[in-house]
Amino acid sequence: MVKINGNVENVDGQKLTDYLDNSEYRPGTFVVEINEEIVHKEDYEGVILHDGDTVEIVQFMGGGC
């Protein structure tokens, strides 16, 4: 099982690019981190999601003080 943004998902063995394509994240607006390491866009190809991985997909939101 892979934990993605706090949700446990059954995507073990899936390619990161396939996961992103199947999800509805808007291209170009997010960053992916796997096990606290940033995955650069140019490295998405070839990344496989493994059982036990923790994935964070983040974007900019409003924020201030």
């Binding site: 997010f30 981190e33 983040v58 900019f60 409003g62 201030g64 003080c65």
Partner: protein, 258 residues
């Protein structure tokens, strides 16, 4: 002095506007008008888990040419702040970062010790680091030593709109620090922003005061005017205050009596 020559620098960027605007707590479609009315050249954003359901992105609403200042809100220690800052940079809007580290959930006071640690790490990694801090001179010096491009002392608890509660301590930072002092958090109305500028602050940041106003773009405009007025007053040099008594401004001769 020509007005547009009165600039300040953060990293290698030069700014003429001394109003930094936050983008939290209000709807995205008002951001553009608030930025434009406020004349803000720097806007802060946060980094959060992406939402697949909403396809609109806040960057669509920030006018072109505005410098994005991501914050590390949500971080409870230096390690988490560094992690968020790296993600923010990866999002591709430059290398500015506002460090916000809050361990306390009631008062949301910034943790100066952790902030110094994060500043050191991120400055080494090439970030332009703007740390939100509790106004303490030793911490401000340590932040500068750690590579901060400015310090951002709080005026009052974040989001409180209580104004310059920490006025005396902010004045110490303004007087003693030779990096920009940007007054952040707690500024609740334009007159308080004006006062901070009169004191010699380099710039003022506001969010909640604008976001909770009835007319958000108009309030952004009011802050712009206040900050410009305060800056001019500072440059002009404030008139003196008498210890006691009065001092006539009119001639003391030629009265219509013998």
């Amino acid at each position: 002095m020509e007005e547009n020559k009165d600039t300040f620098k953060l990293g290698d960027k030069e700014f003429t506007s001394r109003f930094i605007l936050g983008s939290g707590k209000y709807s995205m479609n008002l951001i553009k008008a608030a930025v434009e009315n406020g004349g803000a050249q720097i806007v802060t954003l946060s980094v959060r888990r992406a939402n697949t359901k909403e396809h609109e992105n806040i960057l669509d609403y920030v006018p072109e040419g505005v410098t994005i200042l991501p914050n590390t809100s949500g971080a409870r220690n230096a390690k988490e702040a560094v992690r968020i800052a790296r993600m923010a940079r990866e999002l591709g809007c430059g290398n500015f970062v506002k460090i916000e580290i809050m361990g306390d959930t009631k008062y949301l006071f910034p943790d100066n010790n952790e902030t110094i640690k994060a500043t050191e790490e991120l400055a080494k990694e090439g970030f332009v680091v703007l740390p939100y801090m509790f106004p303490d001179l030793y911490a401000a010096r340590a932040l500068k030593e750690a590579g901060a491009a400015a310090v951002m002392p709080l005026a009052a608890p974040i989001g409180s709109n209580k104004g310059l509660a920490a006025k005396q301590f902010i004045q110490v930072l303004i007087d003693e620090m030779d990096i920009p002092v940007i007054v952040d958090a707690g500024i609740g109305k334009p007159s308080q922003a004006c006062e901070a500028m009169e004191m010699g602050a380099t710039a003022v940041m506001a969010n909640t005061a604008v976001a909770t106003a009835e007319d958000i773009p108009m309030m952004a405009g009011a802050f712009k005017s206040a900050i410009e007025a305060g800056r001019k007053a500072h440059l002009a040099g404030l008139g003196r205050v008498l210890e006691r008594g009065a001092s006539a401004s009119d001639p003391l001769t030629g009265f219509l009596r013998d």
